[in-house]
Symmetry: C2
């Protein structure tokens, strides 16, 4: 088994530590085999019930913190039945734990000792948590303007946090430069991060035994979760477990909507947009590197994109809290979009709530 | 079915809104029937799999946010295998959701429209979340010195937060006074809060099918969780599901250890102690009203208490984070105690991690 470049078709052994192809293209991993295994002891809800599906080396021992198996609950909103998958109830507080668990499992198998990553948000926290669980030393590069409070969690996990002067892009460059001597545990680039995210699709299928949702709404920044879901639902379809996969509805903030713009304009890659700061920080990605694959997944699923304004995002966060669901603005964006879609799609929708409201005490506190 | 006073034996109908007996004693609910039901749709991990056990009216419809079903993971520490139950992955970020789900289910069945509670911590957040889910208006009374950041979550859920001048006790008195016109949704007093907490015992039994832990370590403030676990394990023993219940090991901060003191001195009720401020805020309860029942449960289980110093609690919080488990100081106290107990008890222990580290960004931030 090996990585294969999506662009030029070059193969690389799993034993070679790299995050992308020499040509600059994304690497893929083979689709793996989908099968729901018996529950492993002490990991009832874990993503590892479906481990064959992630394409990992078969002798890799899971680096797990009990991620996945998050609840799906049903609520009645405006007379519609809506399902919510509470992915903010993952160990570090976001869906990224699915990808980090899979990626760090690969890295531990490879014998990696030092990792670098560039994210002050959920991905940085998730990679830090699983690096800690794997016993791998981790350095997180963040822009120098990052508030200290945002990286406390990563520091507690034991990561070194390095502030890089300049923009988000400069932090990225610093991580890439450091990857010459450390493994770049990139939530954006690494195929095992994305394949781990596909676990959410398997769980939705398993929990919705009485009938799959017709559409799945989720926030998209770089779009890794959407890619992962598409990968997962496609595997379920190919193996005959479902006859029809849900439409994937990707939600962006109007203030930063390069994929939404591209989708509407039938582009193959993200659109150049004037990005403004949004409360939905987790999806404020102006130049999403995986946009081509994300647009393909959106179209392949029969889905579409929605962009939502700031006031609607904030209102949705409050509405969710008022029914007991305390989530990040980024997650609330997906619910804000639900109010705007076709009645038919609203009727049997599932909304993925991706990140915990406990990470936004500062912003939410300013509302009172 | 009815409430029965633990002190004087008086019975009260479930239809009567009250939180304690006229004589001042605690009310009990009948033990219910233990049986593991088939998983209800969309609530895979929910405490409602065991709903017969909580003694609720049979026609009460669950007020659920997907609580319970939290992962148990295994780690090797100092050469020992230790189990951790990640109860901080409940919807509002703590184990209190188990009790709040059960209590608000009862309150909704009763037709309650307005609730009051007194807690700026996990209980306040949990009651607020489930009041929101139940559509019940909620007011939380907190001491006026409570930092604003601590009650943001409750406010987002829609609770009104009222700051009461004076001590913690004055906030309590305000809630009791308000309970003449509103239902006192007391995590301390209400029997349905405690019976909901017993769900953790059923989950431990179910996940540890290969062998029950010999001891369960948990933080005790008012001690409701310990009472709930004892109730749950006793039900499992009485119905023949287990032959031997785990020892319950209750952990307090040395700076506020009224139950630990009472246990060592063979008292029936809590000891008068000079309480000092501890980082483990969730267990800083100087006069725990349920202490008699908690001491009985401790002794009945063959367990004991441990008190841990501040520096050990802080060190344990850091150690846990360094293996990927980001929890409150209060939860870390239980792990700090693990290092101090007999080798025999350390060998097959389960530690309940009760609250999320994401609630303590401020304090943890001060460590860097």
């Amino acid at each position: 088994v090996s990585f294969r470049c999506r662009l030029c078709g070059e193969d690389y052994s799993f034993r070679e530590p790299r995050y992308r192809c020499e040509c600059g293209g994304f690497l893929d991993v083979p689709a793996g085999t989908f099968s729901a295994e018996a529950t492993p002891e002490f990991s009832v809800g874990s993503i590892w019930r479906f481990k064959e599906a992630y394409g990992l080396p078969t002798d890799a021992a899971p680096v797990t913190l009990g991620e996945g198996g998050t609840p799906i609950i049903q609520k009645t909103i405006d007379g519609f039945s809506v399902l919510f998958k509470l992915d903010f109830l993952n160990p570090s507080g976001s869906f990224k734990d699915r990808g980090a668990s899979s990626l760090l499992t690969y890295m531990k198998w490879l014998g990696v000792r030092r990792a670098v990553e560039d994210s002050s948000g959920n991905a940085g926290a998730a990679v830090s948590a699983y690096a800690a669980a794997a016993g791998i030393t981790c350095t997180i590069y963040v822009p120098s303007y990052t508030p200290d409070g945002k990286v406390v969690q990563s520091k507690m996990y034991g990561s070194e946090v390095v502030k890089v002067p300049g923009t988000r892009h400069d932090a990225n460059s610093a991580a890439v430069a450091a990857s010459r001597s450390s493994f770049y545990a990139s939530h954006l680039w690494h195929p095992f991060f994305v394949s781990g995210l596909s676990s959410a699709a398997f769980e939705i299928w398993e929990d919705c035994s009485a009938g799959m949702p017709g559409s799945v709404l989720l926030p998209i920044g770089s779009g890794g979760l959407l890619e992962g879901l598409y990968r997962g639902f496609s595997a379920l379809k190919e193996t005959g477990h479902i006859s029809c996969a849900p439409k994937l509805i990707g939600v962006q903030a109007s203030r930063c909507a390069p994929i939404h713009d591209a989708f509407r304009r039938h582009l193959d890659d993200y659109a150049d947009v004037e990005a403004e700061r949004s409360v939905a920080e987790g999806i404020s990605v102006a130049r999403p590197p995986r946009a081509r694959a994300v647009l393909q997944a959106l179209r392949g699923s029969g889905g579409y994109t929605v962009a939502v304004d700031e006031d609607r995002i904030i209102a949705a966060a409050k509405t969710l809290a008022r029914i007991g669901l305390y989530v990040e603005h980024t997650s609330a964006a997906a619910f804000a979009a639900w109010f705007t879609i076709d009645r038919r799609d609203r009727e049997d929708a599932l909304v993925i709530l991706t990140g915990s409201g406990l990470k936004e005490t500062g912003t939410y506190g300013s509302y009172f």
